[in-house]
């Protein structure tokens, strides 16, 4: 896998960061993982839908800030960053144009960053 690392395209940390994120999403999407969750609690199987419920209190810091964004921003961040859907898939799921997904995602990230840096 290290062969796919291109130093021209970014830092090693960013590369590893994205591998970790993709691996986590793959695992969360895998049948095995969902089955293990299903064995515990049937109602937890909601991976296909954006989470619009109120944030549970034990969420990591970043997730909490995401939940503080307005709904349309929260949705695109949740679907893309945390659940790994592509922008095209999100456009289909949310029934909005791809351009709107892009605009919202970029705006959401800028706002998120502003909140984090406060």
């Amino acid at each position: 896998m290290i062969d796919s690392y291109d130093p021209d395209k970014g830092k090693l940390f960013t590369w590893m960061f994205n591998i970790a994120r993709n691996t986590a999403i793959d695992l969360a999407r895998s049948k095995e993982w969902r089955n293990s969750k299903r064995n515990n609690r049937l109602t937890d199987d909601y991976a296909q839908l954006p989470d619009r419920s109120l944030p549970p209190s034990d969420l990591p810091e970043l997730r909490k800030i995401v939940y503080s964004l307005k709904d349309e921003y929260k949705t695109v961040i949740e679907l893309s960053y945390f659940e790994g859907y592509t922008q095209k898939e999100i456009a289909t799921m949310e029934q909005i144009p791809l351009g709107t997904v892009k605009t919202r995602l970029r705006a959401a990230l800028l706002q998120l960053k502003k909140k984090i840096n406060l």
């Binding site: 395209k9 970014g10 830092k11 940390f13 960013t14 960061f17 994205n18 994120r21 993709n22 990591p60 810091e61 970043l62 893309s80 960053y81 592509t86 922008q87 095209k88 892009k102 995602l105 970029r106 705006a107 959401a108 990230l109 800028l110 960053k113 984090i116």
Partner: protein
């Protein structure tokens, strides 16, 4: 293009977080090569991501690192500790397999040597066969030529004239076969010294005391050469002349001469 607006649009953030789509990523990579400001902005975002991750990230649960290293060890190293689990039966099978492998390897070497030798032999035989075929063809050609010469020599009206070496050229010998019916002259150069460069032997017929050109002699050592037609010759002689022949013979360069027996 408004670089500042592009940098501040949020596209770099989405790229660094891995949620930009392929087109956006490609465009950004292309632009970062063109505009140092964009490349710097990417670096700055990456640094920010790292700092933020280290400041807020949750530490991995205890044991994850050990687990990871263990699974990596399994992947890269043959741990000596695992040999303890191998039982005697397995050891026996492994030893037998190794022995079989060695025997098989030795067999392969032996067979390979035999194979290369057989191949070499085959190539040698092939070369030999080609040589034999070539020789055969050469003999056939010579036989045909001899057959042809023999027919010429044995035709009715053919007179054989032996040309013997003159004084100083003793040992030189040539034979003329003269068909008095068709007037054709054939020559066999039985023994003539090698020709110096720029020179050729020329046959002369002596008719009533006058030398008449009877043809240039090329390579007539093995076969009969068909030369010019001659009428009423009393003798034949061979002189060494310049290449292409002369109109009159150079008498001090005469090698052989012989009279026609009537």
């Amino acid at each position: 293009m408004d670089i500042k607006a592009y940098i501040e649009s949020g596209v770099i953030e989405s790229y660094v977080l891995g949620i930009a789509d392929a087109e956006e990523a490609a465009e950004l990579q292309r632009l970062s090569l063109e505009y140092p400001a964009i490349a710097a902005a990417i670096k700055e975002r990456e640094q920010w991501l790292r700092e933020f991750s280290e400041a807020t990230g949750r530490p991995a649960p205890d044991g994850v690192k050990d687990q990871l290293l263990q699974s990596l060890n399994k992947e890269f190293a043959v741990t000596p500790g695992s040999i303890h689990f191998i039982n005697r039966r397995f050891k026996f099978i492994a030893a037998a397999s190794l022995l079989a492998l060695l025997v098989s390897a030795a067999g392969n070497v032996y067979l390979y040597k035999r194979y290369t030798k057989a191949t070499d032999d085959f190539i040698a035989l092939q070369k030999e066969q080609v040589q034999v075929l070539a020789d055969n063809q050469a003999y056939q050609a010579r036989l045909t030529a001899f057959d042809h010469d023999l027919k010429i020599m044995s035709e009715p009206g053919v007179i054989k004239v032996l040309l013997a070496g003159v004084t100083g050229k003793e040992g030189s010998l040539a034979t003329v076969y003269w068909n008095t019916h068709s007037r054709d002259v054939y020559l066999m150069a039985n023994n003539l010294p090698p020709v110096p460069s720029g020179k050729q032997y020329q046959l002369w017929a002596l008719v009533d005391g006058k030398p008449i050109d009877a043809g240039i002699i090329s390579d007539c050592a093995s076969f009969l050469c068909h030369l010019k037609q001659v009428t009423g010759a009393q003798a034949f002689a061979i002189t060494l002349e310049k290449t292409g022949g002369s109109a009159t013979p150079t008498l001090d360069q005469m090698f052989v001469i012989g009279n026609v027996k009537s």
